[in-house]
């Protein structure tokens, strides 16, 4: 009994499971099923993006992009499209990928090899103004992030440090805006942007988003934890009110500011509904709307669509692998999921 009392939770949990016939293997098995379910769609996206249009149509599908080759002359291989295979006769009817007549070869001479078609990416990039879309999204994201940082720091400072009539009521009014779902205000917002003449402009994608109530809330909560003594000391040293925000408060709030930057970037990069409604020309169209349009216009070239999907999510996914801890934390606090 003495030994049992000193068992760690870990050992005890293991003992429980061993008794119930559900060991560590089952636990890890379940977790790995989850991993497979989460990863396979991404794997499938990348695999598809590297296949040839012909290979896309093959059923059963191949797990890795595969090309069929026939040795044309010693040392040189020609990529072919297999029209039919006759297993009984051991022959295959093939055709050169570039077109041309079909001919029959011995099946054993057809060699399957890994064949990655990176040119799908260039092709997809060319078929729609993706460079422009990318530029638009990056531009909008930069301005929104900068705007959110400025407006939120200032407002949070006022709400946290200054005492003025109606402060708390105003703050609650701000907070209540978080409860209103986007579909509710998007129609009147459209009318307002029409009246401002902002439809199909960068302003329409930037200005309404440079104030973010939740960021104000988050920063205010943090600012409130910074002791008043610090303020007194700074004032005695001749620091101005703004100087205190700039030189003391903000440097002490780096972690919160990073969180705000992260969820603003992810939110802006992935936002779809708003730009879908507020833009209809490629000049200002951001990446997500451009991608959606591409997918609707393409329709059948799955390898190109998957290439476009890959290069659209790539920047955030790469950033995610480098800073997953901060990104998970930031998005979890922001309550962002769609």
């Amino acid at each position: 009994m003495e030994a049992t009392a000193r068992m760690t939770d870990h050992e005890l949990a293991a003992a429980y499971r061993a008794r119930r016939g559900f060991g560590r293997a089952g636990l890890y098995g379940a977790l790995w099923i989850g991993v497979i379910v989460m990863v396979v769609p991404f794997f499938w996206m990348i695999t598809t993006s590297l296949k040839s249009p012909i290979e896309i149509l093959e059923f059963p599908p191949t797990w890795v992009p595969t090309g069929h080759f026939v040795e044309a002359s010693a040392g040189t291989w020609e990529e072919v499209y297999v029209v039919t295979r006759d297993a009984a006769a051991g022959t295959a009817v093939v055709r050169s990928v570039e077109g041309g007549p079909s001919y029959t070869v011995e099946e054993s001479l057809v060699v399957d090899r890994l064949r990655l078609r990176f040119r799908n990416y260039a092709e997809a990039w060319r078929q729609a103004p993706f460079a422009r879309y990318y530029f638009n999204t990056i531009l909008v994201t930069i301005f929104v992030v900068a705007g959110v940082l400025v407006t939120s720091s200032l407002a949070a400072y006022a709400f946290a440090r200054m005492r003025f009539w109606g402060r708390d009521n105003l703050f609650v009014l701000f907070l209540s805006m978080m409860m209103v779902p986007q579909p509710v205000y998007i129609v009147p917002s459209y009318i307002i942007l029409v009246k401002l003449g902002w439809i199909n402009t960068y302003q329409a994608l930037i200005v309404p988003w440079i104030a973010h109530v939740f960021s104000i809330f988050l920063l205010r909560q943090h600012f409130k934890t910074i002791p008043n003594d610090l303020y007194d000391a700074a004032i005695i040293d001749g620091c101005s009110r703004f100087g205190f925000l700039w030189r003391v408060m903000l440097p002490l709030s780096k972690a919160v500011l990073v969180a705000v930057v992260i969820f603003t970037i992810v939110g802006t990069w992935n936002s779809f509904l708003w730009p879908l409604v507020m833009t209809d020309t490629p000049d200002v169209r951001p990446l997500q709307v451009g991608l959606a349009r591409f997918s609707q216009e393409q329709g059948t070239s799955h390898e190109l669509m998957m290439a476009a999907a890959t290069f659209s999510i790539a920047p955030l996914v790469v950033a995610y692998f480098f800073a997953q801890k901060q990104i998970i934390q930031s998005l979890a606090t922001s309550g962002m999921k769609s």
């Binding site: 989460m38 407002a155 200054m162 129609v187 307002i192 007194d232 991608l291 769609s338």
Partner: protein, 324 residues
């Protein structure tokens, strides 16, 4: 040192200076949040076509809405969607979080993988899943084929899932009312659960890690079984987290649009309109040819009212069971 606090009070009670700091955010919030919400309310009483107000019509839009069968259809479709996504997502996320909380090796790896879809854009994810669901060439039907099942139409299947199950079981006839959500809608639900589950897992995991070890220790000393530990310790202490996840998943699910817009159709609204959810209906009535933004505003407010009511009801029900 009383002069300092006097100084501070003086400086900090000046509303004009405070206004200077609040104005940048305030203007944006006023013009692009408060004003639109106010005008949604206002516009819903007016005939607004081609961006022009054409006259006051009182509650006519609401009456029209009430009589419109496609409104009720879209509401029913949304209800199916919410009723499917929310419990499944919560259950799977809680299960994963409980497993992850068992002091496993490489916790960070699993968390990173499960959370990955949250970071990726819904547009890209919808495209990938549409391809996976492809009736002829899709990965899923290939897997079904290998496992001896028969291929399904997935996103192109208008028939209800219960009806499909019944017909697979050999029933010749099945009542229309019990057909259930179309397979197309269920496919969209699968994608939504897949996309959002990582977020719920992370929240649940944080909640589980906040439960103090003493409780588990006490339960252990009392000789509780793992099941008892879960239902008597974990579940009640986790309830504030569960409540939050339930609420946020419900609210997000009610607003589903992007997945449906990208994955189902053409025709718009999915096979036989079986994936036309309420936000889809809203946009159709507001922005399509002959759209009436006053009417769309009425739809938006009804949606808002539903979400608000559900939030309040959930809060009421859960309040009694939540152990803070």
């Amino acid at each position: 040192m009383s002069w300092i606090s006097t100084l501070r009070r003086k400086k900090f009670m000046d509303p004009l200076t405070a206004a200077l700091y609040i104005v940048p955010a305030g203007i944006i919030v006023a013009v692009f949040r408060m004003l639109p919400i106010g005008s949604a309310f206002f516009l819903s009483f007016f005939d607004v076509r081609m961006g022009r107000i054409r006259g006051f019509i009182g509650l006519a839009h609401y009456a029209q809405l009430w009589r419109d069968p496609s409104f009720w259809n879209s509401l029913g479709t949304t209800a199916y969607y919410v009723a499917g996504v929310v419990p499944v997502s919560l259950f799977l996320a809680l299960l994963a979080a409980v497993l992850l909380n068992k002091k496993i090796r490489a916790l960070g790896f699993y968390r990173t993988v499960y959370f990955l879809p949250v970071v990726t854009s819904l547009v890209a994810v919808s495209m990938v899943w549409k391809w996976i669901f492809h009736p002829r060439l899709g990965l899923l039907n290939y897997a079904f084929d290998r496992l001896g099942g028969s291929a399904l139409l997935w996103l192109e299947e208008p028939r209800g899932v219960f009806e499909l199950v019944a017909s697979a079981a050999g029933w010749e006839w099945w009542p229309d009312g019990l057909a259930g959500p179309s397979l197309a809608l269920v496919a969209v639900m699968i994608v939504s659960v897949w996309r959002g589950i990582g977020y719920n897992i992370v929240i649940f995991l944080a909640g589980l890690q906040n439960i103090p070890d003493q409780y588990y220790e006490a339960a252990r000393i009392d000789g509780a079984s793992p099941m008892q530990v879960f239902w008597k310790v974990t579940w009640p202490l986790l309830s504030p987290t569960t409540f939050y996840v339930l609420l946020s998943t419900t609210i997000v699910s009610f607003q589903v649009f992007t997945q449906i817009y990208l994955m189902t159709g053409p025709p718009v609204g999915g096979p036989m309109g079986t994936t036309k959810v309420i936000v889809y209906y809203l946009f159709e009535r507001g922005f399509d040819a002959g759209g009436n933004m006053g009417f769309a505003s009425a739809v938006a407010l009804v949606l808002f009212a539903i979400i608000l009511t559900l939030t309040l009801i959930q809060r009421r029900i859960v309040e009694r069971r939540v152990y803070y």
